[in-house]
Symmetry: C2
Subunit: 244 residues, 2 copies
């Protein structure tokens, strides 16, 4: 084993950066694809912002995004974690989870490829079903190959426990805000809020909390309460510090 | 974009190393899963060789292996490549392929998890369907989550062109060698050779070559010829320099 221990580390250079509606970890979907309305962009960084590098990619419906969980790098990695889907009651080895608190902090997401945009030296991929924080460094893009990547015989392991989506409702004012926001920006806010809240973004440690919860999507602050195991969106408002 | 350009690179540390039958690139399957008999091991490196890190992983049938294409790092990356599946006739952007000649040289394989072994301070995962060179540095292991990773609606892009498996036959002496080898070692050599040759491992540049071809699996040299679009295995022999 000596040769491997002595092997020097390999330095990753970001090839792109995520532009998404998720400005903070709370509310960001825990996996790709579960909030299809979560549109985002991968903006390529020089010298990778050349159209030749993505020639042919537009023929695929889905792509893999390999990225760095940049917000957990400073905190280091953990041997084991308590996955939120198990209610925080059981510990799993970090390699048996998709937790960001992992050695090398690499993330992997299969997302829908909605389009490739190119102009004024800016090359970007538009994606759907993102679970990626705004500002996330991207280190690789690969086509999703259903013949090798879609393993229909795979078992879901400890994640096979049933998960019931939460009911989500909006008070009238919040629903009206979302309609107006979508009309002005084209962003499907109500649909996105519903997809996120159905998955119950609360960490296990806050499942008994009776307070309001809030998350920020683009420049909108969304507030909800939990009532009889149902999410009720009580307020949506533009954050003071920005204008979108 | 200034902040991203200025972002420092992130240094990966290998968490493990691949022990596989593939000693050289030629003959190594181009994708995971297409040669199910390609068994391999992921041997964890200190300080990651602790059983707590993989607790719960054994409940999954498949895992993702993230690794470095270490043999192409020195050569750097290419803007575009000629995928072998297109006969080398067309160029695709490197991000539209799974080529190793990519920025950051990261590889991604979904493999079957056959077992977890632990003893004498050695922690290893036994895997099937590997497409990984012996000695490959592994940088992450993740459970395969069918609910999010298996996208049944994904289109195969430029790879959707039909691919016909090649017919494979063995001369009697080669078949007898394989039976004896399997009996002595438990390694399903004939099955593995068949799975590899069905995919035609020849690079596009050698498709018109009439010579013999050879590949090394474990310590065995396997020789074949192409006759009427069929692979005929003409010889299998133990390489002089080793005893397996």
């Amino acid at each position: 084993m000596t040769e491997e221990r002595a092997a020097p580390g390999f330095t990753l250079q970001p090839i792109g950066v995520i532009r998404s509606c998720f400005k903070e970890k709370f509310g960001t979907p825990r996996q790709a694809g579960i909030a299809p309305s979560a549109w985002a962009e991968i903006e390529f960084i020089e010298p990778y912002n050349r159209k030749e590098l993505v020639k042919g990619l537009e023929s695929f419906s889905h792509i893999w995004v390999l990225f760095l969980f940049h917000e957990t790098i400073a905190a280091g990695w953990k041997t084991s974690v308590r996955p939120p889907r198990l209610g925080g009651r059981r510990r799993m080895g970090v390699f048996a989870t998709r937790s960001p608190h992992r050695p090398n902090h690499l993330g992997l997401s299969a997302v829908r490829l909605l389009g490739v945009s190119n102009g004024n030296g800016r090359l970007a991929l538009e994606i759907g079903g993102a679970d990626l924080l705004d500002g996330t460094p991207v280190v690789d893009i690969k086509p999703y190959l259903p013949a090798v990547d879609c393993r229909q015989d795979a078992s879901a392991g400890w994640l096979s426990e049933e998960f019931a989506a939460m009911d989500v409702a909006f008070i009238d004012e919040a629903a009206a805000f979302c309609r107006d926001y979508e009309h002005r920006t084209g962003r499907r806010l109500a649909k996105l809020v519903q997809e996120i809240l159905e998955q119950d973004p609360r960490p296990a440690s806050q499942r008994d909390k009776k307070d309001r919860f809030g998350m920020r999507l683009w420049g909108v602050n969304v507030t909800w309460i939990i009532e009889n195991e149902r999410c009720l969106v009580t307020n949506c408002e533009i954050l003071a510090e920005n204008n979108c």
